[in-house]
Symmetry: C2
Subunit: 261 residues, 2 copies
């Protein structure tokens, strides 16, 4: 039985934390204190690029997205689903959180569509449909007090693993589960939130509506990698997620950041 | 609710199959046809050694066991929990088996004790206690028609991932679940079973008791890596597993091999 509209926190962390065991454990101790149901989504692009380099595989990026050829999907699967995912799970177990590490292929949690090779062939890269997220299995884990930890690997249901943007995984899982839960989506990163001036942490924009966001985009305040993050956030809100907070990983518990609504 | 004494097949496959996508898919199609509850345990030592070599990490073995230092536990976790485990899960999903890939850290399925550094310091290597296998969670997956796929990584419940012999994982899971299920343990490898003459596939020993096994050991017929496999097998039988079959991966469905009892 699905618990009716209990709270759920979907927390996404980036590669900068997962690459630092001390920062990671400190963050996970905060994560442990979050009340209600919760799950974690992690990136790991920095470590994947390091590993690719060590293996002599060239990292090719187009508009901030990794071109994922046959060698690269192997490397990102090893790094994301293997080392990072299991290190996080082992650390959560150590601090008393019964976690389970999952890719989108596991229990068919997050099936994806391989991205069209036109106009740019990104290779083994997939985009999930939030309506296809296996919310019943994920809910079953949450009801058993097991904390899902998702890496940024999905599959096409036809045998191929697919590299998938971790922000998009978080958006898809949060949206897919918002039918069952009052869902908050936390995007943790290395800034205080959305800043008017990227070099001034005091210029935090505390709340933002979709219309305000559009103006910030036009004015060049929201640029580059922040654009897909904001687009994912407002899509999540339009599709049932109660709130999205963009914040520094250190502020998870005090919720100081940019709240979108 | 645990199903009372339904059947369960615990199937262990070695690294030679997982390194060959065509052989792997053919094997998984057979595995799919096994009736009753089932789960898979896989090795991957050959691929791990290749990856270590590519990364310039020296593979050190003592009595057929890998010395697992800090760099090596990272490599084996990447290869076993990452690439191999998720490739198997994606292939099973493709052929219509709803699989989930797990390490022993996930949902605390298989907690282990790190092996004592005396007399040989194997590093991050662990030995599970079958009584601590999380049989209630694994049973819950089986009841939901989800097929667990275990890699040979466990954890010490104190934050460390541990390299663990895949035969021992299979033994531990089979033994831990034999309280709930009539459990058959299949050790698939590249020979027809236990052979009187290792170079003659027609010299298969079709059945073997513990006493007969002891004689074969004394006579030098069972040697090297087969000794721990046989010891695990008879320990499993002594601890509740109904039967152990040692056979070629191609014979999973016709069960032609060495049946221990």
């Amino acid at each position: 039985m699905v618990k009716n509209k209990e709270s759920l926190s979907v927390v996404k962390i980036g590669g900068n934390i997962v690459d630092n065991p001390k920062a990671l454990e400190s963050f996970l101790n905060d994560f442990k204190k979050l009340e209600g149901n919760k799950l974690l989504v992690h990136g790991g692009g920095v470590l994947a690029s390091k590993m690719a380099k060590q293996l002599g595989i060239e990292t090719k990026m187009v508009s901030g997205r990794r071109i994922t050829d046959e060698e690269t999907i192997k490397v990102v699967t090893m790094v994301y689903s293997g080392w990072i995912n299991k290190s996080i799970v082992a650390t959560l177990q150590k601090i008393g959180c019964n976690a389970i590490g999952l890719s989108g292929a596991d229990a068919n949690c997050i099936p994806s569509i391989r991205r069209s090779p036109v106009p740019i062939d990104y290779g083994f890269v997939g985009d999930p449909d939030p309506n296809k997220v296996n919310s019943s299995f994920i809910s079953q884990l949450l009801e058993s007090d097991i904390i899902p930890v998702f890496c940024a690997i999905t599959h096409d249901e036809n045998g191929s693993l697919l590299n998938t943007n971790a922000d998009t995984i978080a958006y898809s899982v949060a949206t897919g589960l918002s039918k069952n839960y009052n869902t908050s989506l936390y995007y943790c990163f290395e800034k205080e939130g959305v800043l008017k001036d990227i070099n001034n942490p005091d210029s935090l924009i505390a709340t933002m509506s979709f219309e305000e966001c559009e103006v910030y985009k036009e004015n060049g305040i929201i640029v580059d990698g922040m654009i897909p993050k904001m687009d994912n956030s407002f899509k999540a809100i339009n599709n049932g997620v109660s709130e999205v907070i963009i914040l520094h990983a250190n502020n998870l518990l005090n919720r100081k950041g940019t709240i979108l609504k």
